[in-house]
């Protein structure tokens, strides 16, 4: 199909050349004819009747054909179906967002690609002449790097991995990107600590990998901060593991068990459906105050009462950035770790009353904040959110953990992990394999 289009373009181009040449020929002929005619007519009759016509022709010679830019072709490889209302759905929303704004782009996607067959899907997109190929699952990492070295004139972006030209473990035509949530989980934790009546919060986790572990820790740290500030007591947290990314039925059971057996009343989760939020809403309807959050997209409609806020991602700005790089031929390999503030039109922190917390902006942001959260804590969430934009506040610090700013962050064995004056850097966050002391269950190894 593309081949056909390129042929058409070529013929259009040569057509333009031809018409121009023809045009010049006509001009020349007209000019000569005009001069001869003028000579004859002028010499004989004494006036230059044909001159204005010659002038008019000379004017149109300055015509230049308009520059036409081909749309860039982008191919996406998704691990799940686009209708999963979770991970792949989110990426497809990002694709549409970027396409709508960039306009001069043709995008394709291949969904439900099994991990071993990613190279096959990439070949298919290369055959379609896609210049930029974006693979959106961790399991596609090695296959993407392999394709990047096979096709050095194409550009590749891999989502949620650690291989890129910038990181030095893949060719230079490969970048990586990730939308990071730990800051937002911390803010969810502040809301949880502000609302919990039992002093016990719960978390339904997908897999015990560092990404999920740091989200849980951030959530519990936030809850500890707010709960300690409110009551002077320590928070208690329970974690249940699903060992699945998409498992609504198991997530429902786990959520009910956390509420009924462990006495949790604020639940957060990493599972790609609104199941946990829906369980919280059911308890609210029965008159029990149980709260939960959005995950990856605004899920308020699934729990209008129980929904507090939640981490939301829009991959669109990241994709748009790559579109620009490819279209303007300014590619450089990057290793994007998008946090609060990144890709936001206004990076500088706002005063609390003007805070944009709860509004759509940038790549990662908070879902709308429920007014059920006490005013004091809404202000705290907004303040921290604004400070995070400039990286002035970091959850994994003593200040993020203790309202008095004294207690270091300890793991479950009582070892000090982050002491005064320290803050967790990217390496520490990306390889986090310990849970904070307030969590009851050990980390499965």
């Amino acid at each position: 199909m593309f081949k056909h289009a390129s042929d058409m373009d070529k013929s259009a181009l040569s057509g333009r050349k031809f018409s121009r040449r023809e045009f010049l020929g006509v001009t020349k002929a007209a000019a000569i004819g005009g001069i001869i005619a003028a000579g004859i007519v002028g010499g004989a009759a004494g006036y230059l009747a044909k001159m204005p016509e010659v002038k008019e022709v000379t004017k149109t010679v300055t015509y230049t054909p308009p520059l036409k830019q081909m749309p860039i072709k982008v191919g996406y490889v998704y691990v799940g179906p686009v209708g999963d209302y979770g991970w792949s759905y989110g990426h497809d929303r990002g694709r549409k967002w970027a396409d709508e704004r960039f306009r001069n782009v043709e995008s394709y996607y291949i969904e439900s690609v099994p991990e071993p067959e990613v190279t096959s899907a990439i070949e298919n997109l290369v055959a379609k002449d896609c210049e930029l190929i974006i693979t959106t699952s961790f399991g596609f990492m090695d296959g993407t790097a392999e394709a990047a070295s096979k096709y050095p004139d194409k550009y590749f972006v891999h989502i949620s991995g650690y291989r890129s030209g910038a990181a030095g473990n893949a060719p230079q035509n490969m970048s990586s990107a990730f939308a990071e949530f730990y800051q937002l989980y911390y803010l969810c934790g502040l809301a949880a600590g502000a609302l919990t009546q039992t002093g016990v919060i719960g978390y339904v986790g997908a897999y015990p990998i560092p990404e999920v572990v740091r989200h849980i820790n951030a959530y519990v740290l936030g809850a500890q901060y707010a709960y300690k500030k409110r009551t002077g007591k320590n928070i208690k947290a329970h974690v249940t593991w699903l060992f699945e990314w998409v498992a609504p039925e198991q997530a429902r059971l786990a959520a009910s068990a956390l509420i009924d057996d462990k006495n949790c009343d604020v639940l957060n989760y990493t599972e790609d459906t609104p199941a946990v939020l829906m369980v919280a809403e059911e308890y609210q309807k029965k008159g029990k105050k149980v709260w939960s959050f959005s995950h990856y997209s605004d899920m308020r409609e699934y729990g209008p009462t129980a929904h507090l806020t939640g981490p939301v991602a829009n991959w669109g700005p990241i994709y748009l950035d790559f579109y620009r790089m490819v279209a303007t031929k300014t590619w450089r390999s990057v290793d994007i770790w998008a946090r609060v503030g990144d890709y936001m039109p206004w990076r500088w922190r706002q005063p609390i009353e003007k805070s944009t917390a709860g509004k759509e902006e940038g790549t990662v942001y908070l879902a709308p904040i429920n007014p059920a959260i006490p005013e004091e804590y809404v202000s705290l969430i907004k303040q921290r959110y604004e400070e995070m934009k400039e990286l002035l506040f970091e959850p994994f610090t003593v200040e993020g953990h203790d309202p008095e700013g004294k207690e270091p962050i300890r793991d479950q064995n009582g070892n000090v992990r982050i002491g005064p004056g320290e803050r967790a850097d990217r390496n520490a966050l990306w390889s986090m394999d310990w849970l904070v002391e307030y969590i009851e269950e050990p980390l499965p190894k």
Partner: protein, 351 residues
């Protein structure tokens, strides 16, 4: 009135014809479904056909078909001896585990010389897949437990066992805590012949030949065939039924295990959770389509690999959803089941 009559000896010619007709019927029914969904059916089949004539795409079709072909060949052995092995998926996973185990043994303990790596990985994955199948077989032989249930349930155990390994002891120390094993070094990847597909098809042809020889020329193959027709006859004839069952299932699971070896060593390059998207189940359809003939498994498997590849093209060219190909596969399977019915019975017109 129509009446059904049982065919006493379904002839080879009839069964071939019936299968072929049912295959055509599948194309027709699928075309009909998509026609009513407003899809350009001619273009639909042209895109699928294009996969088999475009070298790059055909290579991808072969690439994806190898694990299906290998586990189908394993199923041929099991099905011919009347052992309903639904566990090729689990045996694939065990094959992956064994191949990865050899790589880890080499990298961390330097236990195997480099030149023997691929052979050691192949042998290990054969034995591991075979042993997994042997569990179900010995339960059947000793306790009479239905193998359909045990092989199916062993699949889930195998998948969770791989999860345990990659989230636990076999997690790559340099993998930032993600669930993956160490990457396989170059000498442990199946790329002889330039492309994994070439290596894979070589192995597949060799295995198909061995399965063919097994049933055509060996005593074990004969015992297995008799066993498949009637275990009573086999027992009455004084054949060692138990031993043959165990050996046959070891071979069946072992060949599927080789499929797992190809997945980790040829396709992914390391062990990952949920690495097989159901090759072991697709293999059942392929084995049925090929009528348990080892040579026919090869084209049937490549056809299914081609369908998967065409699925990608259909998504990007016609913007159809990924499930399109699943629909096509399911229609094929239903038509084959229908064909089985017509092979056993014939319709007679009676007044």
């Amino acid at each position: 009135m129509f009446k059904l009559e049982r065919r006493v000896y379904p002839s080879r010619k009839t069964s071939g014809l019936v299968i072929f007709l049912s295959f055509l019927l599948a194309f027709f029914v699928t075309g009909l479904i998509f026609y009513f969904l407003g899809v350009n059916v001619v273009q639909f089949y042209l895109i699928i056909g294009n996969v088999f004539i475009t070298p790059v795409l055909f290579l991808q079709a072969v690439f994806r078909s190898i694990p299906i072909i290998l586990s189908s060949l394993g199923l041929v052995v099991a099905f011919r001896m009347g052992f309903w092995n639904i566990g090729a998926e689990g045996q694939i996973y065990l094959g992956m585990v064994a191949a990865t185990g050899i790589v880890i043994l080499h990298v961390f303990y330097d236990a195997i010389p480099i030149s023997l790596m691929l052979i050691a990985m192949g042998v290990a994955s054969f034995l591991a897949g075979g042993a997994w199948c042997l569990i179900a077989a010995s339960l059947k032989a000793k306790l009479g437990v239905n193998e359909v249930l045990t092989t199916l349930m062993l699949n889930y155990i195998a998948i969770l066992f791989v999860d345990y390994l990659v989230y636990g002891p076999w997690r790559d120390p340099e993998g930032w805590g993600f669930a993956l094993s160490i990457p396989f070094p170059d000498y442990a990847t199946l790329t002889f012949g330039g492309h994994p597909s070439v290596a894979g098809i070589t192995i597949s042809v060799a295995v198909a030949a061995l399965v063919y020889v097994l049933f055509k020329y060996t005593k074990l193959g004969f015992v297995l065939s008799v066993l498949g027709k009637s275990s009573e006859v086999a027992k009455y004839a004084g054949m060692s039924v138990g031993r043959a069952t165990l050996l046959g299932s070891l071979i069946s699971g072992g060949i599927a295990g080789l499929g797992g070896f190809y997945v980790v060593s040829g396709m992914i390059g390391r062990l990952r959770p949920r690495a097989s998207p159901g090759y072991g189940y697709t293999a059942i359809i392929v084995a049925m389509l090929a009528q348990l003939n080892p040579w026919l498994i090869l084209p049937a498997g490549i056809f299914f690999g081609g369908l998967l590849t065409a699925g990608d093209a259909l998504q990007s060219l016609l913007r159809l959803p990924a499930s399109t190909i699943t629909v096509f596969q399911s229609v094929i399977f239903l038509c084959i089941v229908l064909a089985e019915f017509f092979m056993r019975y014939k319709v007679v017109l009676k007044r």
